[in-house]
């Protein structure tokens, strides 16, 4: 398709189709429609679901999922996976709990230390991936299993049980509670502050992805890493930073849950790693990288939250939750496949 003056009328016709195409190509479109359908469905089935307290109830699981899903979406757009994201929620919570209760640290010192630990794990994940060139799926599967073992082993070694408790008796707890686990009352309903953290994570993540150089690099290394490197994108640094972002997000959720529940189970977070990936994929992220949306991933987490609570409110067996999620995932992947073909087709 050459673009010369004589073909201008044809060009204009293509431009109109282009506008529709652009709307279809919005990666979050599918998850937005999905979220609306799920909301309407459960709101019609259950009064509680659409009441203030009901909304607060399904926003809460959505928020803790969403914070990590946002980071996982960024990483997936950058072309990598992190299977250790879920178990790292447990690792950071357990670290914070053990340091503050069994070793008597100030809670804040424990929280900062577990952040540093999380960042170190994220760095190790990223460094191994960029140095070896092995699929991140395998590398982080290794990290996942190692952390799973450590979470149980170290917790048993230190506490002789499989949980860490009594975090509320540590010094600095009240301040930590205000920041990580308080509630905000809006129109007579109290909402978990985690929801604010989630909104903040989504806003920052989306801004970074769409409005900064780092975001452009993230898209580029996920789309074609050698090509990106050839034009001077610091691909390795970008990948490592993305892994560290996921770790930091897992730490935030680990901290929120440790402070809110005041105890952490040694098996916390196991299984969540796939849930994050599913949320990101429902939100429009391609498994192959280079395409996706932070807002979409947040909407994916919202669908999760609404479904998990909605099924309970509707009085159904909770087993249906898994079936429903599987169906959503399949639909999302099929839609993504279609979009990708549409976007990549060339007109020679």
């Amino acid at each position: 398709m050459t673009a010369v003056g004589a073909e201008a009328p044809i060009d204009e016709r293509i431009a109109r189709v282009g506008a529709l195409r652009r709307l279809l190509l919005k990666p979050e479109l599918g998850s937005l429609l999905g979220a609306l359908v799920v909301f309407v469905f459960f709101a019609a089935l259950s009064d509680v679901f659409r009441s203030g307290s009901g909304i607060a109830n399904w926003l809460d699981p959505a928020s803790t999922l969403g914070i990590v899903a946002v980071a996982v979406a960024l990483l997936m757009i950058g072309g990598e996976f992190d299977l250790s994201a879920g178990v790292m929620v447990g690792t950071t919570g357990l670290t914070t709990g053990m340091l503050s209760t069994y070793y008597g640290w100030n809670l804040w010192a424990a929280i900062v230390t577990s952040l540093l630990l999380a960042l170190a794990i994220g760095f190790a994940n990223g460094y191994l991936v960029v140095r070896t060139g092995l699929p991140s799926f395998i590398i982080t599967l290794g990290t996942f299993l190692m952390l799973q073992g450590l979470n149980l082993g170290v917790t048993k070694l230190v506490t002789d049980t499989v949980q860490v408790g009594a975090i509320e008796q540590t010094t600095g707890y009240e301040a930590a509670r205000t920041i990580f686990a308080s509630t905000v009352t809006v129109a007579g309903t109290s909402f978990q502050i985690a929801i604010l953290w989630w909104l903040l994570a989504t806003a920052v993540g989306s801004y970074v992805l769409l409005r900064t150089r780092f975001g452009n690099w993230t898209f580029a290394i996920g789309g074609d890493a050698p090509a990106a490197r050839n034009v001077g994108v610091p691909a390795r640094r970008t990948t490592i930073t993305l892994f560290m972002t996921v770790s930091a997000a897992a730490w935030l959720v680990g901290t929120i849950q440790a402070v809110r529940l005041t105890s952490v189970q040694a098996n916390t977070g196991i299984g969540l790693e796939l849930t994050y990936i599913v949320a990101a994929v429902i939100g429009g992220c391609l498994l192959t990288g280079g395409y996706g949306s932070v807002i979409g991933a947040s909407l994916g987490a919202l669908i999760f939250g609404m479904t998990s609570q909605g099924i309970v409110y509707a009085g159904w067996d909770a087993d249906w939750f898994r079936f429903f999620l599987g169906a959503m995932l399949l639909l999302a992947v099929l839609a993504n496949q279609f979009v990708r073909r549409y976007a990549e087709q060339t007109r020679r």
């Binding site: 398709m1 050459t2 673009a3 010369v4 060009d11 293509i14 431009a15 282009g18 652009r22 190509l25 801004y207 409005r211 900064t212 150089r213 975001g215 452009n216 690099w217 898209f219 580029a220 789309g223 074609d224 050698p226 090509a227 990106a228 490197r229 050839n230 034009v231 001077g232 994108v233 391609l286 280079g290 395409y291 990708r340 976007a343 990549e344 087709q345 060339t346 007109r347 020679r348």
Partner: protein, 318 residues
């Protein structure tokens, strides 16, 4: 046909006896040529000739094991693609270094994004990026419908043009094009050749990598021929004709030997041999073989014929 009189002073880039080894494999050995501003140096060779290694040495992806690069009279070494870019050498790679799913304007500025604001609010200046993308592409004669289009929806020729426009915009003094016409149809290839001429006329030095002498000859001022990692010669345009270039490129001697072998056997094989010969050098009479020696450096050109080699000959294909 004469080589344009070179400008005073040292050439833009001089390659002196450059070589590269991968373990025991000699990827490139003792290759020399020059690139001048406002000229096109074509690097020709078949698959495996060392063309890709050659450009990767110029663009800083690899470092030479021997020989040197002299930029504006001064020896230089490039440790990374970034250093080569900063020295004004822009490479348009065969895979285009473009991300298919990414919008044109994001691709255009990839790795060199303009920013505004400061501190944590330093952000990608998308308005400027879109405006400049549109303007630069228009200057190359490409009217993009929408800078938000993913690059993957552009045609091959359009993508090449975007890549060339990008290199020109980022102040390249030397443009390296890695087989820009190889994947294109006849018409699209013509469009890209026009951009090469346009870049040359803007005073850029151009290194044009190709395996197609019919694309190289009309735009080239110098021709470096590579074969199995060695130089077959470095010719000015007045030193070589299109036919000679084609013959050297198509592995003329090997094809000829094969032709004779088949012809001796007679029957259908002889027909194949005749077809082979005709295919090789178009109007050449198969019973009148030209100089069969492989080393033809400095040999007289095979003579310019009115009818050029048949299009669709082996040299036209991959």
């Amino acid at each position: 046909m004469t080589t344009p009189v070179p400008a005073a002073g040292p050439p833009l880039l001089e390659v002196r006896g450059i070589g590269k080894y991968f373990g025991s494999v000699i990827a490139l050995k003792d290759v020399s040529t020059v690139v001048r501003a406002g000229e096109v140096t074509c690097v020709l060779g078949d698959n495996g000739a060392g063309k890709s290694t050659f450009i990767k040495l110029l663009s800083g992806v690899f470092q030479p094991d021997e020989g040197e690069l002299v930029l504006n009279g001064e020896p230089v070494t490039f440790g990374t693609p970034r250093q080569s870019l900063d020295a004004g050498i822009a490479t348009v790679f065969q895979d285009l270094a473009m991300i298919p799913l990414l919008a044109i304007w994001r691709n255009f500025f990839l790795g060199s994004e303009p920013t505004k604001g400061r501190g944590p609010f330093r952000r990608f200046d998308s308005d400027t990026a879109k405006r400049i993308t549109r303007r630069e592409l228009a200057a190359m004669g490409i009217d993009i419908r929408d800078p938000d289009q993913p690059v993957g929806t552009l045609s091959g020729g359009e993508r090449q043009s975007v890549a060339i426009a990008r290199a020109v915009h980022f102040g390249a003094k030397l443009l390296i094009l890695d087989e820009p016409t190889s994947a294109l149809g006849v018409k699209q290839a013509g469009v890209v050749l026009r951009y090469i001429v346009q870049a040359r006329d803007r005073g850029l030095g151009v290194v044009f990598i190709t395996h197609n002498p019919h694309h190289a000859y009309p735009v080239g001022d110098r021709f470096l021929l590579l074969k199995r990692g060695r130089s077959l010669g470095d010719f000015g345009k007045d030193e070589i004709s299109l036919d000679e270039l084609t013959r050297l490129m198509a592995g003329g001697a090997e094809l000829e030997a094969l032709g004779h072998e088949l012809a001796r056997e007679g029957g259908p094989a002889a027909d194949v041999a005749r077809a082979l010969a005709a295919d090789r050098d178009g109007a050449t009479d198969p019973t009148d073989p030209t100089d069969p020696t492989d080393r033809s450096v400095g040999a007289p050109p095979a003579g310019a014929r009115a009818a050029g080699p048949a299009p669709g000959g082996p040299a036209d294909r991959r």
